[in-house]
C-alpha cells in the first residue's frame, strides 16, 4: 500500500467526544466566536451520556432547603475517601446548580416540585435530595438538550469518526489524526487546543454497563502524547446491573430504584445492607427499615436507608452475600421496589412514572414486572474515577494545549464517585475546559503538523487489514475482558494482578499481529483491532495502579489488604510513559486542603 491520503481540517479548538462533557465544552468554546470541531465516535446524541438514568447532583435546595454547596462538597469528599482533587470538588459543588438551570434555559424539562421548581431526588451518599432528574432518563434529557442547542452554535460535527493519535509540535499539541467509519478515509485536524471528552474504559471488563465505544481512547491518547494518568485503580463497579438473562448481564439498573425506596434482599429475604454500615456513615444511616422509609418519603428527621450508602460499599456487600451462598439463582441478589405497595396506594403507577425505563427494560428483556416482583441484580463495571491528570481550574493536562473533562479526567471523584455527580461533572468541567481551551488556542495559534508522524500513524492503523492469518481482534478483546474481570475486578489480590500484567503483555503481542478480513469501509473488525491498543493501555494502567495501592479504599478492594491504610491515605497514584516506553507508576502526595475547605469537612462531621 502506498502513502495513505489524508483530508485536512482546521479548528482553533478540537473536541474529541460528543457526550455531555464534549458538547458542553464545544458550546462554551463556540460562544466566543471561534472555530470549533467536535469528533463523535458514534452519531450525534448517541454517546454514553444518553444511558445515564438517575439524575444530576446540584445543591439547589428545592426539596430540602438545608442543602447548599458546602454540604455537597463535604459529601463528595467523603464519598471519594478524601483522595479527590479538593479544588475540583469545590468548583463542582459551587457551580452545579447554575449548570442545571442553564440546561432548563436551553429547553430541558426536569420533573417538577409542587411549587413548580426542579424536583430533586435522593441518591447514595448525598445527605439531602439533590438529583435533578427526568424519571430515569436524565442522561437522554441532558444530551438531547445540549445537542439541540449545540447544532445552532456554528460547531462542525464529525459523526462516526475515531481519533487514532494526538499530534505534537514539540511539547504542545498540534492536532489529531483519525479516520471516518463510513469510508475509512484518514483525516487530520489541525488545532492548537484539544479537549478530550471521550468517557471511560468499561469495555476493558467483561461485565459492564458501558457500550462498545468505551475503550479508554482519551486515556490512551493522552498517555501516548506524554500526559499523566491518575487514580486508575479506582474503577466503579455499580452495585446493580442486570444478571439474567445472560445476554443482558451488566446492563445498568439505576440507583434511582433505591432512591425511590427499593431495598436489597438476599435469598433468605434478609435486608443485608443493615448488617454492615461503615463508621464514616454511622450517624447518617437509618437505624431500622421504618426510619429508612420515612427518609424516602421526605421526613427531614430521618436518616437514609443503608441501600443508599456509597456504591463501592453496596457493591461489596452484594459480593459478600453471593460469595457466602446467599445469592439469587442467577448469581445476584434481589432488588425489590414492588414492596412499596405496603406503604402506598397506586404504587404500580408510581413505579411506572418514576422508573419508566427500568419498567420496560425488565419487562422486555427479562420478562419481569418490577411493580410486582423483585429484580435480580449484581455488580457491573460502570465508571472510571481515574483518568487524565488535569489542573483543577483549567482542566489542562500535563501536556500543553491538551485538556480533559468528564469521565476521562481524574480528580473530582477520588476513590469513589457518588451517583449523580457524573452528569453535573460533565457540564461543570465541560464548560471550564471549553473556556480555557479557547484561551490557550488564542494565545498559541498555528502549530505545525509533522507529516511523517501522520504517515506512520496511518500505516500502523492499516496493518491489521494487510495481514492475514493473525489473531481475531474479537478473540483478543474477549480474552482481555475475561482476564480483567477475573484478576483486576471487584476483589483483587497481588498474585492475580501480577498475572494480569503479564497477560496484558502477551495480549499486546497478539494484538500487534491481529488481522481482519474485508475492506476499510465500515468494518467493525478493523475498528475493534484499532481500539484494542487503547484498551490494553488502560488495562495495564488499572492493573499497575491497583497493584501499587496495598490497601482497600473506595472502589479499590484488596483481599490481601482488606483494611484502609493511613500510609495510602493522602497520595494519588500517577502513571506516565517513561523514557524507555514502559509505564511508570508514582505515588504523589495530595496538597493540603486550604483552611476554609477543611473547616467545612470538620463542620459536616
Amino acid at each position: 500500500m502506498g502513502t495513505p491520503q489524508c483530508i485536512t481540517h482546521e479548528h482553533q479548538v478540537l473536541i474529541i467526544g460528543a457526550g455531555g462533557a464534549g458538547l458542553r465544552a464545544a458550546i462554551e468554546a463556540a460562544s466566543t466566536g471561534i472555530n470549533v470541531g467536535v469528533v463523535c465516535k458514534s452519531l450525534l446524541g448517541k454517546a454514553h451520556t444518553v444511558m445515564a438514568e438517575g439524575g444530576m447532583a446540584a445543591s439547589m435546595g428545592n426539596v430540602d432547603d438545608r442543602d447548599n454547596w458546602r454540604v455537597h462538597f463535604a459529601d463528595t469528599m467523603r464519598g471519594g475517601q478524601y483522595l479527590n482533587n479538593w479544588r475540583m470538588a469545590e468548583i463542582h459543588a459551587r457551580q452545579a446548580g447554575d449548570r442545571v438551570r442553564e440546561l432548563e434555559a436551553w429547553g430541558a424539562i426536569f420533573d417538577r416540585t409542587r411549587d413548580g421548581k426542579i424536583l430533586q431526588r435522593n441518591f447514595g451518599g448525598h445527605k439531602y435530595p439533590r438529583l435533578a432528574h427526568v424519571g430515569d432518563r436524565t442522561g437522554l434529557e441532558m444530551i438531547r438538550t445540549l445537542q439541540d442547542h449545540g447544532i445552532h452554535q456554528g460547531i462542525e460535527f464529525y459523526m462516526e469518526f475515531t481519533v487514532l493519535e494526538i499530534l505534537m509540535d514539540g511539547d504542545r499539541v498540534a492536532g489529531a489524526v483519525g479516520y471516518d467509519r463510513e469510508k475509512g478515509r484518514f483525516h487530520i485536524w489541525k488545532a492548537p487546543a484539544i479537549v478530550l471528552a471521550t468517557g471511560g474504559i468499561g469495555r476493558a471488563f467483561k461485565i459492564t454497563s458501558n457500550s462498545w465505544e468505551y475503550t479508554g481512547d482519551g486515556h490512551a491518547l493522552a498517555y501516548r502524547a506524554g500526559a499523566e494518568l491518575k487514580d486508575m485503580e479506582f474503577v466503579q463497579f455499580h452495585p446493580t446491573g442486570m444478571v439474567w438473562p445472560p445476554s443482558v448481564r451488566g446492563i445498568l439498573v439505576t440507583e434511582g430504584v433505591r432512591g425511590e425506596g427499593g431495598v436489597l434482599r438476599n435469598s433468605q429475604g434478609r435486608r443485608f445492607m443493615f448488617d454492615d454500615i461503615p463508621d464514616l456513615y454511622k450517624n447518617q444511616t437509618a437505624s431500622d427499615p421504618e426510619e429508612g422509609w420515612r427518609y424516602v418519603i421526605g421526613d427531614k428527621d430521618a436518616q437514609r436507608p443503608p441501600e443508599l450508602l456509597t456504591r463501592d460499599h453496596v457493591a461489596r456487600c452484594i459480593v459478600r452475600e453471593i460469595r457466602e451462598g446467599r445469592g439469587s439463582p442467577h448469581g445476584g441478589v434481589y432488588l425489590d421496589i414492588a414492596w412499596i405497595k405496603e406503604k402506598m396506594r397506586n404504587s404500580e403507577a408510581h413505579i411506572r412514572k418514576k422508573l419508566p425505563s427500568m419498567y420496560h427494560q425488565f419487562k422486555q428483556l427479562a420478562g419481569v414486572d418490577i411493580t410486582k416482583d423483585a429484580m435480580e441484580v449484581g455488580p457491573t463495571t460502570h465508571y472510571a474515577m481515574g483518568g487524565v491528570n488535569v489542573d483543577g481550574q483549567t482542566q489542562m493536562s500535563t501536556v500543553k494545549g491538551l485538556f480533559a473533562c468528564g469521565e476521562v479526567a481524574a480528580g473530582l471523584h477520588g476513590a469513589n464517585r457518588l451517583g449523580g455527580n457524573s452528569l453535573s461533572d460533565l457540564v461543570v468541567f465541560g464548560k471550564l475546559a471549553g473556556e480555557h481551551a479557547v484561551e490557550w488556542a488564542k494565545s498559541h495559534p498555528n502549530p505545525t503538523i509533522d507529516s511523517s508522524q501522520v504517515q506512520s500513524i496511518c500505516r500502523a492503523a492499516l496493518e491489521p487489514l494487510e495481514r492475514s492469518g493473525g489473531e481475531s481482534p474479537y478473540e483478543v478483546q474477549a480474552r482481555l475482558q475475561d482476564m480483567m474481570q477475573d484478576k483486576v475486578g471487584i476483589v483483587r489480590k497481588e498474585s492475580e494482578m501480577a498475572e494480569a500484567i503479564e497477560g496484558i503483555a502477551s495480549l499486546r503481542r497478539k494484538a500487534a499481529s491481529a488481522s481482519v478480513p474485508g475492506n476499510i469501509e465500515y468494518n467493525p473488525g478493523w475498528h475493534t483491532a484499532v481500539d484494542l491498543h487503547n484498551l490494553l493501555v488502560v488495562s495495564e494502567a488499572v492493573a499497575r495502579c491497583a497493584l501499587d495501592r496495598k490497601e482497600s479504599r473506595g472502589a479499590h478492594f484488596r483481599d490481601d489488604y482488606p483494611a484502609k491504610d493511613e500510609a495510602h491515605a493522602s497520595h494519588n497514584t500517577i502513571v506516565y510513559r517513561g523514557a524507555d516506553g514502559a509505564m511508570v507508576v508514582e505515588r504523589r502526595e495530595i496538597p493540603a486542603m486550604p483552611k476554609e475547605l477543611s473547616d467545612i469537612i470538620k463542620e459536616m462531621g
Binding site: 452519531l43 450525534l44 454517546a47 413548580g116 424519571g135 438531547r144 445552532h152 443482558v248 428483556l365 468494518n523
Partner: protein, 257 residues
C-alpha cells in the same frame, strides 16, 4: 427456549449499490436478543459485518433495523418472540440510503432538525433567572422528549418510504420534535408556519404506522401530529380567527395554555 440450539439468520450484506441476504448459523440461548446474535455472527464468521449499536438497552436508538420485515431495535427484540424455526431476516432500514450491511445513512434527519427553529424561552419568571412550571403542564412534552431518535418512525412513514418526499416533508420524528417545542410551556417561538410550510405536515394522513413502531411508545399521531394539525388549521384556515387577526395581531405567548 431453555437449552442452546442452532438458529439461522438471513442478514443483508451489501453496500450503497448492491447487496443480498446471506445465511449465518449461530447458537442461541434463553433471553437472547437479535443484536446478540449479530454480535455472535461478527465474532464467529463475519468480522466485517457492519451494524450500529451503543447502549444495548433501548436508550440510544442506534441499532434500528428491519427484522422479519418489521422495523425494530435489534437490542430490544428477543428471539423468543420470533419464529425461530424459520431463518430470521435482518436488513437495514429501507427508507434511508444504504452505507454497508445493516448501516444506513441517516444524516438527512440531522439536516432536517437543524433547520427547525431552536427553542426560545420566555423571560424568566423569578428574579434569580429561573422559571416555574408545573408537572401537569410538562407531562405531555416529557412524553415527546422520550424520543431516542432511532428513526424507525421515519423508516415506516409511507410519505418517506413509498413517496420519497424527503425534500419536502419532515417526517414523524420531527413532528414530535416540533410538538415538544410548540407545547413547551416556556417556548415563545412562532412555529406553525414552518410546520405547515417547510415541514409539510399536510402530507401526513394519520395512518399511525409511526406510532405502531415507536419503541418508546410515544403516541406520535394522537399526541403530536393531530394536535399540530389542529393548531395549523386554527392558525391558517379558521375563517373567524382570520377575520379576528385582521383587527388584532396576537402574540403567541398569550395563546399558550
Amino acid at each position: 427456549m431453555g437449552e442452546q440450539r442452532q438458529a439461522t439468520f438471513s442478514v443483508w450484506r451489501g453496500d450503497h449499490q448492491t447487496g443480498k441476504f446471506v445465511d449465518y448459523k449461530t447458537t442461541v440461548s434463553e433471553g437472547m436478543v437479535v443484536l446478540d446474535a449479530i454480535h455472535q455472527i461478527q465474532a464467529e464468521s463475519a468480522s466485517d459485518l457492519a451494524c450500529r449499536w451503543n447502549c444495548k438497552a433501548g436508550k440510544c436508538g442506534s441499532c434500528s433495523a428491519e427484522i422479519n420485515g418489521k422495523p425494530r431495535l435489534m437490542c430490544m427484540t428477543r428471539l423468543d418472540i420470533l419464529d425461530m424455526t424459520q431463518p430470521v431476516t435482518v436488513e437495514p432500514m429501507r427508507s434511508f440510503p444504504s452505507i454497508r450491511d445493516l448501516v444506513t445513512d441517516v444524516s438527512w434527519n440531522f439536516r432536517v432538525k437543524k433547520r427547525i427553529k431552536p427553542f426560545k424561552p420566555r423571560k424568566p419568571d423569578a428574579e434569580d433567572g429561573t422559571w416555574r412550571m408545573y408537572q401537569a403542564d410538562v407531562e405531555r412534552v416529557q412524553e415527546f422528549r422520550k424520543c431516542i431518535e432511532c428513526f424507525l418512525c421515519q423508516d415506516v412513514c409511507h410519505v418517506l418510504r413509498e413517496h420519497h418526499k424527503h425534500d419536502e416533508f419532515a417526517g414523524p420524528r420531527h413532528f414530535v420534535y416540533q410538538a415538544a417545542l410548540e407545547m413547551h410551556p416556556l417556548d415563545v417561538e412562532e412555529r406553525l408556519g414552518q410546520v405547515k410550510g417547510e415541514n409539510a405536515i399536510g402530507y401526513c394522513n394519520i395512518t399511525k404506522c409511526c406510532t405502531k413502531v415507536c419503541p418508546e411508545h410515544i403516541a406520535i399521531t394522537d399526541n403530536a401530529i393531530i394536535p399540530l394539525k389542529e393548531r395549523v388549521n386554527d392558525e391558517f384556515y379558521d375563517p373567524i380567527t382570520k377575520l379576528f387577526r385582521i383587527f388584532r395581531a396576537r402574540p403567541k405567548a398569550e395563546r399558550k395554555d
